[in-house]
Symmetry: C2
Subunit: 316 residues, 2 copies
DNA sequence: TCCCCGTGTGAACTATTGCTCATCAATTGG
DNA sequence: CCAATTGATGAGCAATAGTTCACACGGGGA
């Protein structure tokens, strides 16, 4: 086709695009104006889009978040990803992601058919549970991925499973075990006893796993909360631990370590690669390496984070 | 409603808009993603538009033209307006507007039901006629608004009516009169004779009038072509003439003058205000005051011009 | 010259979107 | 505390947009 016609076709495409998107006419009107069939007007509008003659710009902070979420989803083959605007007032605030996690839980629990939700650790997860809107779903099941008894024998304040069950009337399965056993043998023994095996079995069928992601540094939450000692933490760091999910430490490639506390952990380990919908929830510059490793290692296939964290992950 | 909810609603609107326009999802998909009904998703997309969260940008020279045409249409209450990109190589070229005029004529003449087209003077009009695609429409009528005999008695080379009739097989009505009579009396006598009255009658029923717009300055086309003498031209300029349509001179407010050559003109005068679709076709910096006056005086209700001229008219 | 290929076209059909209306929940004022 | 008002909601329908298909046109190449 002659270059001149090609050009005039693009001109018409631009005209059609202008009339459609900017002037707000229907394609039928445009067809009459341009003296073509409606089908041709539609083709012109498509062409205008295809040739990128027209661009959309979303003037809203959310736009950047959507963009980041789409890139994360693509890059790490995630089944679900949400990025919330970073709160400039509180860059580490979990409020934003907690709201999204709560929304996700709401959506999942709204289902009439029975679902199983498994919960891990993390402030965001805990906060999310508090924000779930109460709903009566006695046929759902809520299961904990981590032991809720801390080193000193008291019940952990992370009783997220119980709280979520309160709000839904669902059956719930806390894990009646200490976070760490004293030896590998003992761990292996414990996880085979009936009540624990039952919890594991339910967790294995979970429709959704919602987990926090912890970094393994001097401020590691597992240490701050008293689940692992300073020495245990340092040992894991020497072994290359960079992050943890439900206590399971992994290295910078997202490989679960086969040493140290991992041998004595009672938590249910992540699937590798994650097949069940497994959503990680975490924010903060300190957690970026841990989150990135979890994504690369396919320990999670979903992520809820904030804008600053998302950007940092993508820029690595 | 609380400000927080309001904000979250706008967030959702932005999300929906992003998913719709940028990610290209359907509203149904968006509804599922956002956990709302499809109707609500549609409302969110509308809201996004209404709140101008999203803007469209058309990266094409045509965009500016469409914008200018829309402003001219609005400002002067035009029923039709087209602005073509100015050709940087030939700022006065009528090629662009001629093409659009031809397109307009094509569109009008394509009609199966009989239509009457009246033609005025002007290079653009003449060039447009040459570009009309031949079509067999014996029931159409083409009528001239101006005498086609020049001062020296020869037939004018502006035989646009004949040329257009050739291309369409339409009946045509040239105006067998000199452009100017020697006196007002004589003019009044001539326009009453049968063949002329017939032409006037047909012209009065025209569905479309396509006319050129001439400026009244030393390079006025009516003078250059020898229809009016230098003295006559200067006299009209003294009377305030700034432009002419089919020879009828008007002042800067678009009021037809009641003096000088206007008293001896045989051309069919413009309707004031224009009720029939009356399209003016003109480009060039020199014609800007004439075009603007014609628009203000409602001598025309349609305009075909180029980008530079359109901009100049709007900036006055 | 005739044929073939690529391209564009409109008709007809399907999918998507926009709108109206009845309903319902929340908030406010009496 | 209740009625009135406001505003959001979803169902259902009408309008609009998108797709598919068969066909026509026009420009090379045999």
């Amino acid at each position: 086709m002659a270059a001149e016609n090609e050009k005039s076709r693009l001109d018409d495409a631009a005209r059609a695009g202008w009339l459609y998107f900017i002037a707000g006419h229907t394609q039928d009107e445009i067809a009459r104006m341009l003296q073509v069939s409606r089908a041709s007007a539609q083709r012109l509008v498509s062409l205008c889009l295809a040739e990128r003659l027209i661009t959309f710009r979303l003037e809203h902070p959310i736009a950047a978040c959507m963009e980041l979420a789409a890139r994360l989803k693509e890059r790490f083959e995630l089944s679900h990803c949400e990025v919330v605007p970073a709160d400039p007032a509180a860059p580490q605030a979990t409020a934003g992601i907690a709201e999204r996690c709560a929304n996700l839980l709401d959506a999942t629990l709204r289902s009439e058919t029975p679902v199983i939700v498994a919960l891990g650790t993390g402030r965001a997860v805990r906060a999310a549970v508090e924000r779930v809107t109460p709903i009566d779903r006695p046929n759902h099941q809520i299961v904990s991925l981590v032991g809720n008894i801390s080193a000193d024998g008291s019940a952990s304040f992370y009783d997220t499973v119980g709280r979520l069950a309160d709000r839904t009337g669902a059956r719930h399965y806390p894990m009646p075990l200490p976070f760490l056993m004293s030896s590998e043998d003992e761990r292996n023994k414990m996880v085979r006893i009936e009540p624990i095996a039952k919890v594991k079995a339910v967790a294995a069928k979970a429709d959704l796993r919602l987990v926090g992601i912890g970094q393994m540094d001097q401020k590691a939450q597992v240490h701050v909360d008293g689940f692992v000692t300073r020495d245990e933490l340092f040992e894991m760091m020497r072994q290359g631990a960079i992050g943890e999910i439900t206590g399971w430490a992994y290295d910078s490639k997202g490989r679960l370590l086969k040493a140290g506390t991992n041998k004595r952990l009672t938590s249910i380990p992540p699937e590798v690669p994650a097949k069940t919908t497994t959503i990680g929830a975490a924010v903060g510059a300190a957690k970026v390496p841990a989150i990135a490793a979890a994504l690369n290692g396919r320990l999670i296939n979903g992520l809820i984070t904030d804008e600053a964290t998302a950007r940092a992950i993508l820029e690595r």
